[in-house]
Amino acid sequence: MGPSVAVPGSLADPGTLSPAAPSGPSRVTLALRWLRRVSGIVPFAVYVTFGLLLPMVAVAIGAFQDNDGAFTFSNVDAATHGIYLKGFWQSIVLSVISSVIPGILGLIVAYAIFTAKRAQVLRQVAITAAGVFANFGGVPLAFIFIATIGSSGLVSQWLTSLGFDPYAHGFTLYSLLGVIIVYLYFQIPLMVLVILPALEGLRPAWREAAANLGARTWEYWRYVAGPVLLPSFLGCVLLLFGSALSAYATTEALTNGTIPLTSIQIGSFLNGNVIAGQENIGKALGLGMVVIIAIAMAFYVVLQRRSARWLR
């Protein structure tokens, strides 16, 4: 006893052929029409070209030029060896750690916010705060943490008074570990902001349907919510990765260039703290950085497409 099968209405008998279509508008007209349609976007296109594309092209080209403008691989070569290679490596390690950990923590916090359905005010405050803290970075952030866990920071002193001096045990804020701790401050809110829409896409009906069918909480997460969220989660982590890799100001303020990190190294080329005749190495470094991030972002886009399909 299945449903009635819908029979499509009968079509015109196949013997009829439509008469030949009259010739359409000329190519020129079509081209002009297309130009008119696209014209609205011209200002934006021009701006982006000059503000984004051309600079990037300049960087890409400059990476392969020596001081006289001739083509060379020496910049790229230098950029992938020695201290610069170390810079890349540390930057990547730093960014991976500063994206996965805040990713997980951010998910937990976002879930806590999301499930606080009764306390609307809380949600409001939390989301607004996340918006602020996500944009919070650079110099002010560095200083705030110096005041907190710097060598004479509040928490450091407080811990010392309790008998445990972190600095005596080898901890210092001005290290990779310190940088990671500081990065959490804007990475976690960023994660919260980007994963919340995905969480909102988790329909309550799924939770209820799962429970109705006998699933316990962990089973719901294992079989439904987890798989559905995974693409979004990974995508957001990639976004965090890009954000951490690009970070300059905070690190500069904290470490003053003592730790080799690619973004700092690029900056030093502009500051002139470099041997003359090697300026284009900075461009090669920049190119390398963009390539890494571009790969990460490509994965991000793919993952977002996948999750968008499910979370519709």
Binding site: L54, A58, A126, A134, P140, I144, S243, S263, I266
Partner: protein
Amino acid sequence: MAAVVQEAPEAIAPPRRGPAAFRGGTVWRWAVLLVTAVYFLLPLWAALRFAGISAFGSVVGESGFSSSLGLSVRLAVITTVITIALMLPTAVYVHLRLPGLRRLLEGITILPIVIPPVVLIVGVLAIAPGFLKGTSWLLAMVYVILAMPFSYRAIDAGLRALDLKTIVEASSSLGAGWVSTLGRVILPNLRTALLSATVLSVAMVLGEYTMASLDLFQTFPVWIYVNSQTSGQVSVAASLLATWFFLMIITVLGTRQSRKTGGGEVTLFTVARTETRGDL
């Protein structure tokens, strides 16, 4: 007729709150939020104690404070104006006339996040024409690019919540010309989004250090950093000043926005609607 049962069942439970479907998470949730709050607020408070209240007063008097702050504010205003003048018409145009390009536009506007500012400034300085180099206008124009991801997404989210095509068609079917439609129909409905875009752009500019310092401009964040060499407390005070200022504005705006739009918020990346549980 009305078949309502009168007989007593075997067990009549007294009024109680039985186990709800998904109870048990409340404690955990508040613990998480508490720890998070501490992690985020503690540094602020530590900085406050470190700097001392007097530092706030003295900050304003420091040399360079007003000039750098003034520069930053000027940049913020210029950036915001250019941003909205550029992104709003573009977004509306694409939504209406070129919906096929929306994906592409989203992709392009996310590029500035992908491209590290430090790399971008290298490129910009390489191709900037002589007459712009060294002027703060160049910096403002680059800031527009940096602000694009946030501003575009805020405007886009606002437009998406609108069903733009329908209201524009309705407006023109009632006889309104383009200008009227834009001004009376579209713009008022985008107030939240535009506000969001503005706030985010301003926040970004006032906090941006990388490009400003590498472009050799002493904006507020740069001034804070430079000043830190001499007086750490002043820098901390100034940083805090900036932060508190923002927290205030954005919190106020955030709650006002949501009350006006009836429970919807335009956040950085989306319009979040509070979920209602259907009728009773």
